[in-house]
Subunit: 253 residues, 2 copies
């Protein structure tokens, strides 16, 4: 069973300017793994309408699902909803239920036009709940539009996952060793990849100051095959005279 | 003077799988800001040759410069150099100087074929120095190929920057306030953006547990105009009855 594929479109000047460190890619990738959906590409683009519209249409056609983050707040550069509406050729409409939920949040006179914009969704969209600050994301066809603020993004991802079609779950086997170098095992690893063509077999150097080494990982959608490949990775480390440790290497603080 | 534009292509399954948190985008973005080069798009793609070749050719045509990270080590999934060579239609050749530098690093017998691959560069490429682990990146035309391991990536970026053509430097003015919400200032901010059409004017909510608020930023390539826009952002916060603080909001630990 082949996994479903997804693309993640990060919309916003603040990542590209280096102002903000992205925290959402990994959250989405790991949540999708749990649903058997493979994150196949990420694009980070600025708040430029033509570029958003073109990229949404390109990516929703090429992948089973498209996720976006950013640009659904109340300010002038929050143009994602309007751009997605235009990409689908539908109008933006006031979503009554979302409007009422937002209206009760604000004291009289403070639910201004800018804030009301957050209740306007493309025609046909279903809201994605926002347990942090109420203003919803939305799903339209295979496109899922979420907020960029990490705490809100994460809440939306958690809400959304059970509503998505699931693929076969991804499983993996990981072994690592200190002191070993990629160059010592490259040829043997190539041969393991050849033995398991259905899997992704990779080596990942880590370097946490004084502790460095390499992690070996086999990943795929057939659990038995992954287990066999894991044994081969373990044995490779032993053959080279090192001590294999199971799992992921510890990370720097 | 218009800035030069750059695209960053992150090559590797480990970011897409959620295994690894990206640390390189921000490093590159900030280094490019210092050279007056605008990071205009980022793409993260897997180790799939056709996809790498197609994306390299697409992006080196669309932007003034293309930077890549990942896939230049000694293992079977390190295919970036071969793919860039194919994208340019040139062969991979052994780069003598890089070969000799690597050769002296390893005890007799350990400079094996896998490690020798790291000295093979596309014909016409110029090495990018690697002060951490010697194996070079390279520049070919407007494409700059670097390692994915953050410590090596950072060393290569530092070495490379003075070798790049520089654009006009980007300047910015930032003011933030606690307690304020985007929805309170959205309309006034739109009007500031209209007054300074050459600049990027943006608002960035931050939320560090109990301390939340919004930062307002004006960015552009004309320092006097940026200063004027900064004063307008400051005054907007005052008008709303809050206390503007200069610079970026403190980050969560």
């Amino acid at each position: 069973m082949a996994p479903l594929t997804a693309c993640f479109l990060v919309i916003g000047n603040e990542i590209l300017s280096g102002r903000t460190q992205d925290a959402n890619i990994r959250v989405l990738a790991q949540a999708l793994n749990g649903r058997g959906i493979k994150l196949a590409e990420v694009r980070i683009i600025p708040d430029v309408p033509e570029q958003i519209i073109r990229t949404v249409n390109d990516c929703r056609a090429r992948f089973d699902m498209l996720f976006t983050s950013g640009g659904i707040g109340p300010t002038h550069d929050d143009i994602t909803s309007a751009c997605v509406a235009e990409a689908f050729g539908v109008p933006l409409l006031c979503h009554e239920e979302s409007f009422r939920k937002l209206e009760v949040l604000f004291p009289a006179g403070q639910f201004n036009k800018a804030r009301q914009r957050m209740a306007w969704l493309p025609k046909g969209a279903t809201p994605i709940e926002n347990s942090v600050s109420t203003a919803p994301g939305f799903s339209l066809g295979n496109v899922h539009v979420m907020a960029g603020v990490p705490r809100i993004f994460q809440a939306m991802v958690e809400w959304l996952m059970p509503h998505l079609e699931a693929g076969a779950p991804l499983t993996s086997a990981s072994w690592y060793s200190y002191d070993i170098y990629e160059g010592d095992l490259a040829e043997a690893l190539t041969s393991i990849q050849h033995d398991f063509p259905m899997l992704d077999v990779g080596s990942y150097p880590f370097d946490e100051g004084k502790k460095r080494g390499v992690a070996l990982v086999a990943k795929g959608y057939d659990a038995d095959t992954v287990t066999k490949a894991g044994t081969a990775l373990h044995d490779l480390i032993v053959t080279l005279g090192f001590s294999p440790l199971e799992g992921d290497p510890p990370r720097a603080a």
